[in-house]
Every structure is written in C-alpha cells, then in structure tokens.
Symmetry: C2
Subunit: 316 residues, 2 copies
DNA sequence: TTGTAAGCGTTATCAC
DNA sequence: GTGATAACGCTTACAA
C-alpha cells in the first residue's frame, strides 16, 4: 500500500506537504505542489480513507433508512438507492440499510437519509444526533429532495385536457401527507382554471384497491373520462378493471400514472405516466447529505425536481 | 465518545485488558473480565470500528457488484440487497454499489459480492485481488450461493403433473448459463421419469418476448397444457397472451413462474410460482463473504437453497 | 495473566 | 511556506 510517507519520500518533502497538497493546495508553492502531484501519479497514490476517517472522527458511512412499511421490493426504491449509492461513491462513502427507526443510532454513521417517512415520525427526528436529510417534501423545515408533485399532476391534467377527455378524475392515495396534497392541488387547480369540477377518490397504494373503486363506480363513468392516478400501481389497477368492464383504452378512457419506474413498462397497455427523476434525486440526496455532514449539520434547504410526462399507450 | 481508555480507567485495568476482553476473552481471568464487562455496560461502550479497521488494514466496506445489464430496478435485486445489507450490518460492515466491473478495484473495499455474472465475465474474476463470492451457480470453483434451480423446476413439473395437466412445456431463458441448464434439467428429468417428451422454448427475459412465443405457437397448444416458466417475467407474458387468445386459466392452461418477488403478486391472476429465498440468500452471501475475508480468502464452498412452490391462481 | 510501547495512515498545531 | 510532533482509537509484539 502506498502511503503519504512514500509520496513524501519520492517528492523529497515532508508528509505534511503532501497532506496539504491534498487538502489545502493553496497553502503550498506551485513548485512543490507540482513535485508532489507528480509523485502521487507515479506511485498511484490514493489516500487511505480509513485513516482520514479516524483522525477526522468520521466513519465514511451513512445510513439509508426506509420507514415505509410497504414491502421493500418496491422498484421505486431500487432506483433511489442506486442514485444515492452513486452520489456516495464519488466521495468514498459507503452505506448501511436500516428499516427500524428505533435502531437507527446503533452502530456508527455520519448521517442519515430518511425515506418513506410520515408525519407521525417527525417527533423522532428531532432527537437524532447526526445530520439527516429527507426524501419527500415536508413543511417542518427538514432539508429534503422531492419531485415537484404539484407540477407533475398539473402536467398530467393539462395533458388529459389537451387529449380532449371531457371528465378528469383523480385516483389518489389515502394518506394525509404533503406529497399527496401537492399532487391533488396540481390536479384541482388545473381543473378549476378550466371551469371543471374536481372529483377525487382515495385508495391504498395497491392495484387491487384501485380496481375495486373502478368496479364500484364504473356505471358513473362516461366515455371520454381520463383517470389521473397518484401512482403507477394504482394506474395498473384502474387499467385492469376498465378492461375487465369492457371499456376501451385509450379511445374511451385514458389513464395516467405517476412514478415511471418499472411497473409502467410491465403493464399492458404500457402506461402514460409522470416520470419522477428518481435516480437523480438519489444522487442529489447523497450530495446534500454529505454537504451537510461536511458543514457540521447546517441547513441545506429544499429541492423540487421537475417530473416528465411520458406519453404511451394508456392515453389517446 | 467512550473509548477503550475510558473503560480501562473505570475498571482499573490497562487498555490491553479491555481489548482482550473484546477480542480474546479466554486470555483474561474471570475476575477482570467481569469488571471490564461491567464497565463497558455502564459506560455504554462500543468499539470504534474505524480505529479497528485502520489497525487491521481493513475498510469495513464491501462492494455489491451488479453485472447484469438489465435495468437495476429489477425487484429481485432489491430483496437480495436487503438481505445482504442485513448480514453486513450485524458485523458493522457497510457497502457500496458498483455496476462496472472494470472500476471495481477503484476505491477501497475488503471484498466483493458479484451478482448477475455471466460465463464470459469469469476471466476478469481471476485478476481480482480481494476475496469475492458469487450470487449464482457456477462450475469454476468460485464460492457461491444460489437457489437449487434443478429442484425448483422438478417441483414445478411434478406439481403440474399432479394437477393433471397433460402436456408440460418449458419456457426458458435464452442464455447459456449454469442456472438455466439446471432449471431445464429439473424439468427434463422429471418429464422423462414420467415417459413424457420435453418441449422447450427459449426467450429473452421480457414479458413481451414470452408473449410472442405463445402467440406464434398458440394453435399447437392443446387444452390441459401447463407452462413452466424460468422467471415470473416470462410467466406474466405467457398469461397475458393466453388470455388474449381467449384461453382459460387455470382450467385449461396452467402457468408456473419462477422467482416469487413482487411481480407474481402484481400480476392478475396471481402467479403460481417457485419462490426463491432471496432475502436469505443475500444474508448468507454476506456471512460467506465476511467469513472469507476473515479467513484471508480461503474457499467457502457452494450453497444451494431450497425454493418453495407457492400455489396461487394460475394453476388449477 | 497483565501491562508497556510502538505503530496503523492521516491531519491539526505550532514552531521555524 | 514548510516541517516536526502529537494525536485519533485500536491491536500486535514483547516484556514483566
């Protein structure tokens, strides 16, 4: 293993000069810096991050916390995870996976990314001793990254109108959370701007729950109705039941999902959906968290990313 | 932060005695051990794994490598990942996610878990300088964990026969890999034992590819045929096309998948499938890898786990 | 059986 | 601007 000392010898300087070239290059004369950099390249030197971690009282580890009790096979998270991992690896960070908020402070970590949190979890957050960022919008002042949910459903609703669907119905999630309110607001505002009356059903995030709603109310739905769904899972259930009832998609009925991960492509017909930039969000969450750790916990603010409409086969 | 020295003071012994109680308790008298343990509990002492890592020339980090170029949102991997993570966390290990085999040795890690590897990757493995284990069976002597693929399809085939399906057709994956050969062998051997003639189609692992095969050959399939599929993805395509053709599932046609992660439940009808113990495999892979690291790379052998038949709605 | 000393690779501090 | 020294928390090697 090539160490700082090896480089120092090679460049005929002290260890400290090498260390400075790495951490505070402006404090070193151009001449020595050149020598040191040449030596580092020649020896293929890479700092030992464990030693760095020890002296900086860091662990180079953060935790990815999943609170949502739904099954962790949700493909959604896989994307987030890969994005997050990418962001971490750039800075030589590794992570652990945690699903139990109470055990979050066991072991060692420099900070946490918390996903799937609900309003009732918030009280626990204030007790955390390490910096953390949230995936998912909140109005308590916790740093977060999320999709611009309101813009997403605004886009979906406007698109449905532009395809000349006459009635637009929102199939939302039965949760009292900011992201759901934002999605509904995007829908409601757009309808009202067009002198239309909103109609919202709320269901659990399972295709079968959505299927049931459509079944129960099918007779009330006229031709030229488009369903704006708060998730692709729901959209799949809606599509399934509409087809079961003999309805024609996309000619008579349109369906628009939300998420754009995996499920939208497995479904048949393939879903028109609002695609969240999930990988990107994961990456940004990593940057934000590492930044926050570096700045000993100072606030990082909020980040809303623009989702994209993906036109496919479930709308005309 | 509570350190070894703090515990030593509290217990009136030297740091080394405390260290020994942790790493070689048998070398310490019962009396001192008791004192030290009491002190550790009272102070809520936890070893600093970074310091341990530095002196042991470890990183406490391993890499989870995904070589398969299919999208990483495959829910399958999510389960494996969570199992793996669980296994690691027990030993205070963290991990990084890697998708590029060529960059695997960048950065620092004590070892690798390699998933989704294909035969043509093997030559690269021999060059790796750190211990690694594979997820997926191979006959090159690399340590691995996998499902007992042959047993899985044997179980599926026997079940299809027991449900009195007359013809059993295998829809396999179009890859020349040990796991696929094992699955086909499980099917073929069982058929031959029953004086039946095997019939195999091979497709890419996409529902649409499977759909196409069924479409192309539907007229050749008689009532009372059961399709044994090498993945749930394939099974979903088979189901979809059979229904499209107006065939009755499960009365006239049966479909059995393989994997049992997420997809089997999203599908309609819900799939009868061979469920792999994926989470468990992840956990075992972690143990195996950490074990191998601890034993400086000594062979760990092979582990085939028993899959389970899950009876649901796609077979009668 | 227990303790002392040295060292793992790095950085902060304080001289020069 | 550069270098010597101590320190981070722990373990190995050796001495008592």
């Amino acid at each position: 293993m090539v160490t700082l000392s090896d480089v120092a010898k090679q460049a005929n300087v002290s260890k400290m000069t090498v260390s400075r070239v790495i951490n505070h290059p402006e404090q070193v004369t151009e001449e020595l810096r050149g020598l040191v950099e040449a030596a580092m390249v020649e020896l293929d030197y890479h700092p030992n991050s464990v030693a760095q971690a020890l002296v900086n009282n860091r662990t180079n580890v953060v935790k990815f916390v999943t609170l949502e009790d739904i099954d962790t096979t949700e493909p959604y998270y896989m994307n987030l995870l890969f994005g997050f991992a990418r962001g971490l690896t750039k800075k030589q960070y590794a992570f652990q996976l945690v699903t139990d908020l109470n055990r979050i402070e066991e072991g060692r970590a420099d900070g946490y990314l918390i996903t799937g949190s609900r309003t009732h979890n918030y009280e626990l957050f204030d007790k955390l001793k390490k910096p953390f960022v949230l995936f998912g919008e909140n109005h308590r002042g916790y740093d977060f990254v999320d999709t611009d949910n309101q813009l997403g459903e605004k886009t979906a609703t406007e698109y449905a109108l532009s395809r000349l669907y006459k009635q637009i119905i929102f199939i939302g999630l039965d949760v009292k959370e900011p992201f759901e309110y934002s999605r509904e607001a995007g829908y409601i505002n757009t309808l009202q701007k067009n002198q239309l009356i909103p109609k919202i059903y709320r269901v659990d995030n399972h295709s079968h729950a959505a299927q049931k709603v459509i079944q129960d109310h099918f007779r009330e739905f006229k031709k030229d109705t488009c369903f704006i769904c708060a998730s692709d899972r729901i959209a799949i259930g809606v599509v399934r039941e509409l087809e079961y009832q003999g309805a024609k998609i996309p000619e008579d009925f349109g369906v628009i999902g939300f998420d754009g991960v995996f499920l939208d492509q497995v479904s048949n017909p393939k879903l028109t959906t609002i695609k969240q930039p999930i990988f990107k969000m994961g990456e940004l969450l990593a940057s934000m968290l590492l930044q926050k750790i570096a700045q000993s916990g100072s606030p990082q603010g909020e980040l809303l990313l623009e989702p994209k409409l993906i036109r496919r086969e479930s709308t005309r």
